[in-house]
Amino acid sequence: METPLTHNISPGREPPDLAQYEKAGGYGALRKALGMAPAEIQAAVKESNLRGRGGAGFPTAQKWSFVPMGDDAPRPKYLVCNADEMEPGTFKDRMLLEGDPHQLIEGIIISAYAIQADVAYVFLRWAYKLAARRVERAIVEAYRHGYLGKNILGSAYSLEMHLHVSAGRYICGEETALLNALEGKRANPRAKPPYPQVSGLWGKPTIVNSVETLCNVPHIVKQGAEWFRSLSRSDDGGTKLYGASGRVKNPGLWELPMGTPLREILEEHAGGMRDGYQFRGVLPGGASTDFVTAEHLDVAMDFDSVQKAGSRLGTGTMIILDDKTCPVGMLLNLEHFFAQESCGWCTPCWSGLSWIEQILQDMEEGRGRASDLELLESHTRLLGPGHTFCALAPGAAEPLQSGLKYFRDDFERHIHEKRCPWSPT
């Protein structure tokens, strides 16, 4: 089984420096890319069926295709690497950032070349201190060896790259909020259209791609679209970083073929449940995805299949709920997070989320009322897609609406018994 993304990574060890990365074939894809036309690279990425790994799964080449090209295109154009990674339960990009920063930088340069960007930013979350040091060092090395700056490797192409370390706020990961954050503003999302591809950073064409997405690009250029598609067990090309946390025997992160079944990941890689714990459900793709339960264990973990099962692949990092953890308490924890991190721009989001948090808190403390379930359900509808400015609120509704569906008995017990059945009395 091929694992291109993590090939150079061994946890706990220093990442390859530039010389080691080159020795392993690194920057070969960039040399090849500079000999291709930008349109050829876009075509290869299109053919590879690479879908964005930041959560929404939008086809990468299609996103790039909206950027104005040619001599009349507005300048400068920007490429931004989204390395905000603040969604609870998600920890995959950190491995790529810390483990092989040159792979990411090579991916950014090639992707920037494909849209003829002039400047690239890596937008990194505050807490990733080690990643910040390693990415910064790798950028310096890349400049020193002619992979960045003016006339890269003697070509006509020039690119500047900078690391921007953020100051901690989940909403900064939303791509238009991220643009405001980069501009030094409060990170409220922007209305779309105009789309960033046309009018993004400082009003100029901008692409925002996730770390894992960009890390795939050198491999596609180097080994071809067909090879990339063949790595996958589904229609979406490539491998995927899958992770698991919670009470499994072996929590962790694995690079596996896209479309690996949930059961296989949980049982073979995560080692099944810890002794004394039973599986009850899982958020398959991070905190903003719907629960799935035992009946869905055979679902293939790709964008379309997980959607058919009523949830989302999201970031592919799953959070497991066991039988000794209160589902209402878990939802309270999740909704507390979303309420705290709401940027406050739209009323259904900031006011609805703190209301939801309060209802769940009351329920956990034995003050639940029979009407609460209906109230919670109506909130999930009001927070649904189309009612708010960005996807934070619909994301917050997902675990709640599915929790109400699959763990209804647990909610009812809280209300009838006037206490949390899991908390010691």
Partner: protein, 168 residues
Amino acid sequence: MLSEQERKEIEAHARHYPNNRAVCIEALKIVQQHRGWVSNEGIADVAEALQMKPAELESVATFYNMIFRKPVGKHVILLCDSVSCWIMGYERLRQHLGDRLGIRPGQTTADGRFTLLPNVCLGACDHAPVMMVDDAHYQDLDPARIDQILASYQQEEEKSTDGNTADA
């Protein structure tokens, strides 16, 4: 006024952006790094240097979780309170840390050594529960491990106090 060092560091970052305003978040972090937190004076200093209105800068500063607008202790403990850590025992650890330090979340110890802040997911959920002390991640925590970590910070400080006495 910004110190010479602060000014130099901010200017180095300002080169990465097409205008001054864009460096304001970095500038606030630099001032915080040097002064421990961002006081009203810190806001005024940065605003003046970047030619922004203090109120405008203030609205940015208060938006981000990691810009401290109140003094913090010598070491800041960020205990992850998000979902995977919650499942793996966050509440017990919060209780334990609070008892050991004699403070509640959000507070600073009387000797000014530690501030305890609950924080969103620190991105190491497969090793939950997790906390950060200053720049370091600590993973797979339990109460015993927390005691060890606190002791190591204590020892480090005793060592540096010893050093000072020896010098004198």
